[in-house]
Amino acid sequence: MGAIASSVPSGGVALDLKNVRRVFDDLVVIESLDLRVEAGEFLAILGPSGCGKSTLLRMIARLAEPDAGRITFHPDTERFQTAFVFQDAHLLPWRTVLDNAALPLELMGIEREQRYRRAHASLRQVSLSEAEGRYPAQLSGGMKMRVSLARALVTAPRLLLLDEPFAALDEITRFRLDNQLRELWRQRAMTVVFVTHSISEAAFLANRAIVLSRRGGRIKLDRRLELPSERTDDLRANPRLGREMKILLDAMEEE
């Protein structure tokens, strides 16, 4: 693991899941999961719907407690250093784009001038400066998602968690956001854990992918993707990407 870990930025947090178990009523969603994520890693978690990948992400975000087992962080992070991007943008519709992007800082009690300065910067990073005064109802789906991304990045998180964030978007928009996300990860030293059911998205974005089983949240495959660190649209036509996708697909299909 060390060789790969040193080739990626290392300002993120590392996390360690030990015997993590999660049960809903009678259903064992995750039986006993062990997973170590290095600082600065870009990890994709793949699996069919209902396999517990969103549950896993919520536990990593400390929005849900494991029923057994432990999740530890290195260094031990404060709550605010984690950011979460949901499947849909989930903006506050009564707030402007700027006030949406500044929300996390507002909740953390950061003073006004500083939180707007950082929100401006964050929106600039997702090329939305010109839309700062708009309301979410006036934005396209892709723009909303970019605001959501800006909101997540505004706290300079060391751990970024994404739950199928671009699933509802059209493919072109999705490709553009993929590129943008990958670029943001390269610029900012953070750990990214990305849940998806899209094999192509997982292969294109991540440095490492794990495939979960349909039942019990067992890791069927844990693979470091053999792809160049620079990911542009050219990579989409690269046969190496196709090979990685085939490996992930085989793992998903085997039961």
Partner: protein, 271 residues
């Protein structure tokens, strides 16, 4: 709309279209009014309808002009009571909804009573209100309050409870307190529903005030009651009409508040 630079995928240009002047827009609603009043006038004059049962619109108008001083004073009195009752049910209704929303157990314990309370007929408890509050304004306000509070509770509670769970997670993630979450997330998110509750409550508050006045004296309710005993059907109609105008005015006020607060972000005000 505001002057904004065109961006890709922007709605909004369609919003400026199809907005006629407010006077022009009122014409369709005026047509039935003119037709029905004229028909009624003709029916009464032609002897098809007995004037002591249904007065001609013209005599209602005459009664309104003749008793304008009395009717105006009565309307002001009723307005004050209805508004006060409505205000109290807004404040108490939202407060109770917040309390009920605080836990599922509290909801299970108290919400059935709120529903039960709603089914008690006002006419039946109005005499009780007189016993408790005496003749006069207090009984009238209490009556307006009692009938208008339930829709505020029910709608506010629904609004608060249907806050997007993802957004609640987001607020938790950044360590927002319950109070901050209430004011920055739950209230604004529930605002469209709260306003729906207030619209219903505004009409009910006027009805409650009139019923209260039947028994507690004063205002338009009392005018209706006295005119009835005097066989002055025209005056009854005049007072009823003014009570409706009052209800409409209150309804209009809520709509205005709704437009001002929601137009930028909620679909209901963006048609």
């Amino acid at each position: 709309m505001h002057a904004l630079k065109p961006l890709t995928g922007v709605r909004g240009s369609e919003q400026s279209r199809g907005r006629k002047g407010p006077l022009l827009a009122a014409i369709p609603a005026l047509v039935p009014f003119v037709v029905i009043t004229s028909a009624l006038e003709l029916a009464v004059r032609g002897g098809l309808v007995r004037a002591y049962l249904v007065p001609a619109p013209s005599s209602v108008f005459r009664a309104m002009v003749e008793s304008r001083g009395e009717l105006m004073r009565a309307m002001l009195t009723t307005s004050a009571s209805a508004l006060l009752g409505f205000f109290l049910s807004t404040v108490a209704g939202i407060g109770i909804a917040v309390f009920l929303s605080s836990s599922r157990a509290i909801q299970r314990a108290f919400y059935p009573y709120a529903v039960f309370f709603q089914t008690v007929p006002l006419i039946a408890i109005a005499p009780l209100l007189v016993i408790w509050f005496g003749y006069g304004t207090r009984t009238v306000v209490a009556s307006a309050f009692v009938v208008s509070i339930f829709p505020v509770i029910a709608n506010t509670l629904t609004g608060i409870l249907s806050t997007d769970p993802a957004l609640r997670d987001l607020f938790r993630l950044y360590g927002a307190s319950t109070l901050v979450t209430l004011f920055k997330l739950r209230f604004p998110a529930a605002l469209p529903q709260i306003l729906t509750g207030l619209r219903v409550a505004s009409g009910l508050a006027v009805i409650g005030a009139i019923v209260g006045e039947f028994i507690g004296g004063q205002g338009l309710g009392s005018v209706v009651d006295i005119a009835r005993t005097q066989q002055r059907v025209d005056k009854v109609f005049a007072a009823v009409l003014l009570a409706s105008v009052l209800g409409l005015a209150l309804f209009g006020l809520i709509n205005l508040i709704s437009y001002v607060t929601l137009r930028r972000w909620h679909a209901s005000e963006q048609a």
